[in-house]
C-alpha cells in the first residue's frame, strides 16, 4: 500500500486528493493535511463581502466529505518536509501540527510515498506595515475578502459606511492591492464593482467616492500582462475594457502604485514615477501579497535545506526554468509542465504553491528601485487543472514508478473569470472573460500571444448567470455528490 499526502485542502489540494482517492481506491492511502476545517469556494467570498451571501453558503465542513470518500483527514498545518527521512530510516516524512480543538498544538510525523504541496498562499499582510497586525494576521485599518471570515467582517464594516452615507456623511472607499507585488487583482476588481452596485442599490452612491488603487502598470493587466480580445470586429486590449468599466461607473483609478504603509484612514503609496502620496479612506479593502506558507525542509542529518526545495518567496520549486533572464527572453516553455520537484520525483506542488519561473506581466520598478508589478495568478481553473494532472501523475507512478508524469502547462491552458456585480438574476451584471492560454505564447500566437478566438470579454446578464451556476456547480463537485467527476475543473 502506498501513501499519498496532500498538504492543503483548497481548490488544488481538494482536486488532487479526491481524484487520487477515486482512482486509487482502497488499495492505497490518501491523507489530506490542512489547517482549515472547512472548504471555501473563494470566488463567492465577494458576495459575502457585500452581504449578498452568508458565510455558510460558501463553505462546508471537510471532515464528512473526506470520511465518505475514504480520505484520511488531518486538520493540521504542515510544518516541515524530510524527503530523505532521518538517520537510520530513509522513509520520507512530514511533520504536522494539529489545529483542531481536540489536538491543538500536538505534533506528529507522517511518512509518505508521494507528497503533493497544495497549501495555497500565506496571506502576507505584514509585508506592508499597517496592512498586517505584525503577527501575520490582517491589521485593523483595512478589510479583506480573502477568506470567508474576512468577507463577513468586510460586510460588517461596509454596512457602517453605508449607514454613515445615509446619515449624510460623505464617505471614501478605497479598493485594490495593498503592496507592489500583489496578485489576485481580479478579486479586488470584482469587489469594487459589487460595492458600487450595492451603494447604488442602497441609494447612497452619490454620497460615496470609490477609488481603485493597483500595482498594475496599466488597467486590465490582471497579472497576465493584459490580454487582447475580439470585440465588435476589433481586437481590443483589456486596458480599454477595464478603463471603460471603471469610467462607466465613475470610479477613478491610481495605478502603478505600491502601498508602502497603512495607517488609520490613510494609505501611503509610491508610484512608478517615484512620486509618493497618501490616499485617505473611510473603508479600504486591500489585497495582501502572497507568499509560500513557510514550510521548512530538512536533510537526513537534520540540516536545513529549505533553499533547495523552495524558492526565496517560499513557493516550491518544480520543473520550471528558473534561470534569471530578461523579459525579452521569457518563453512559454519556461513554465512548468509536470509540477514535479526536480530533486525529488515523488514530490509535486500544485496550484498557488508552485514557484512560477518569473512574472507574466512586464517587470516594472519605480525610479527609486521599488518593484511594482503584479505577480502571476494561479488561482481557480488553473489550480484545479494542475491538481487533477498531478493526481493523474501520482496514480500512474504508484502503479508504475517509471510512468511519465502528466502535463498541464499554464502556457497551454486557459482560464475563465467571471467578475459579477449584484446577485439578482435579472438585476445583476457581470464581466465574463476567458483567456487562452494564461501565459502568453508569442511563438504559437504571434501578435497578442493568445488565441483571440478563445480570449474574450463580455458584459451582461449572461456572465452573471454563469457566475451563479459556477457557484453551485463547484460546491456540488467539491462535496463529491453524484456525478461530481463530470464537472470540469
Amino acid at each position: 500500500m502506498a501513501r499519498l499526502i496532500v498538504m492543503g485542502g483548497g481548490v488544488s489540494g481538494h482536486t488532487t486528493a479526491t481524484f487520487a482517492k477515486k482512482w486509487l481506491g482502497k488499495k492505497h492511502e490518501v491523507v489530506v493535511v490542512t489547517p482549515n476545517s472547512n472548504w471555501n469556494w473563494i470566488p463567492s467570498n465577494i458576495w459575502v463581502g457585500v452581504g449578498q451571501m452568508k458565510k455558510e453558503e460558501v463553505v462546508f465542513p471537510l471532515a464528512p466529505v473526506y470520511k465518505k470518500a475514504g480520505i484520511d483527514f488531518r486538520q493540521a498545518k504542515a510544518v516541515s518536509i524530510h524527503p530523505d527521512g532521518k538517520e537510520g530510516d530513509t522513509t520520507p516524512y512530514i511533520t504536522i501540527e494539529y489545529t483542531d480543538a481536540d489536538k491543538a498544538g500536538q505534533t506528529e510525523e507522517l511518512t509518505y510515498d508521494y507528497l503533493v504541496n497544495a497549501t495555497g498562499p500565506k496571506l502576507n499582510f505584514d509585508a506592508t506595515p499597517g496592512l498586517g497586525n505584525g503577527e501575520g494576521q490582517m491589521g485593523s485599518h483595512t478589510v479583506s475578502v480573502c477568506t470567508a471570515d474576512h468577507a463577513v467582517h468586510a460586510n460588517e464594516e461596509l454596512r457602517k459606511i453605508f449607514d454613515k452615507a445615509k446619515a449624510g456623511e460623505r464617505q471614501k472607499i478605497l479598493v485594490g492591492t495593498g503592496h507592489g507585488m500583489c496578485t489576485c487583482q481580479g478579486a479586488a476588481f470584482e469587489y469594487i464593482f459589487n460595492i458600487e452596485h450595492e451603494a447604488t442599490a442602497a441609494g447612497v452612491r452619490d454620497m460615496i467616492d470609490i477609488k481603485w488603487i493597483s500595482n498594475e502598470s496599466f488597467m486590465g493587466d490582471f497579472g497576465m500582462g493584459g490580454l487582447h480580445m475580439k470585440v465588435g470586429g476589433y481586437v481590443v486590449s483589456s486596458k480599454l475594457f477595464a478603463e471603460s468599466l471603471f469610467s462607466e461607473r465613475n470610479v477613478p483609478w491610481l495605478i502603478g502604485a505600491h502601498v508602502s504603509k497603512v495607517e488609520e484612514g490613510k494609505a501611503h503609496y509610491e508610484l512608478l514615477d517615484g512620486t509618493t502620496g497618501v490616499e485617505e479612506f473611510d473603508f479600504a479593502m486591500l489585497i495582501p501579497p502572497f507568499a509560500g506558507v513557510g514550510i521548512k525542509a530538512y536533510a537526513k542529518d537534520g540540516s536545513d535545506m529549505t533553499d533547495k526545495i523552495f524558492a526565496p518567496n517560499a513557493f516550491m520549486k518544480v520543473d520550471a526554468d528558473y534561470t534569471a533572464k530578461p523579459y525579452e527572453e521569457w518563453r512559454a516553455a519556461d513554465w512548468p509542465r509536470t509540477y514535479q520537484n526536480p530533486d525529488y520525483k515523488n514530490m509535486f506542488a500544485a496550484g498557488i504553491a508552485f514557484a512560477p519561473p518569473h512574472l507574466i506581466s512586464k517587470p516594472m520598478k519605480s525610479v527609486n528601485g521599488t518593484p511594482i508589478n503584479p505577480t502571476p495568478p494561479r488561482t481557480g481553473m488553473p489550480s484545479g487543472i494542475i491538481g487533477k494532472a498531478v493526481a493523474h501523475s501520482v496514480c500512474d507512478m504508484i502503479k508504475n514508478p517509471d510512468a511519465k508524469p502528466h502535463e498541464a502547462s499554464m502556457a497551454e491552458m486557459g482560464a475563465a473569470c467571471v467578475a459579477s456585480a449584484g446577485k439578482g438574476l435579472t438585476t445583476g451584471t457581470a464581466a465574463a472573460m476567458t483567456v487562452f492560454p494564461v501565459v502568453p505564447d508569442f511563438e504559437t500566437y504571434p501578435g497578442t500571444g493568445r488565441d483571440t478566438d478563445y480570449t474574450f470579454g463580455e458584459i451582461g446578464l449572461a456572465g452573471h448567470w454563469i457566475k451563479h451556476i459556477l457557484h453551485h456547480l463547484f460546491i456540488y463537485k467539491a462535496k463529491l455528490k453524484p456525478g461530481w467527476t463530470l464537472v470540469p475543473e
Binding site: S244, S247, Y454, G460, L461, A462, W465, I466, P488
Partner: protein, 51 residues
C-alpha cells in the same frame, strides 16, 4: 446624454463608454439567453483545450 456624463471636462477620459443601446442589450433577456449559450460553448471549448 445621461450615459455620457462620466466623460467629464475636468478629467478627459481616454476610453469608451457604452451607449444606451449597448446597455440595454446587457439586460435584454432574449439577447442574453443567446449570449449565455455562446459564452458557455466558448468556455467549454477553453476547458476542453486546457485538459
Amino acid at each position: 446624454m445621461s450615459h455620457e456624463k462620466n466623460f467629464q471636462k475636468e478629467q478627459f477620459t481616454l476610453t469608451m463608454i457604452p451607449g444606451g443601446f449597448a446597455k440595454k442589450m446587457r439586460t435584454c433577456l432574449i439577447f442574453q439567453a443567446f449570449r449565455f449559450a455562446v459564452i458557455n460553448i466558448k468556455m467549454l471549448v477553453v476547458v476542453s483545450k486546457s485538459h
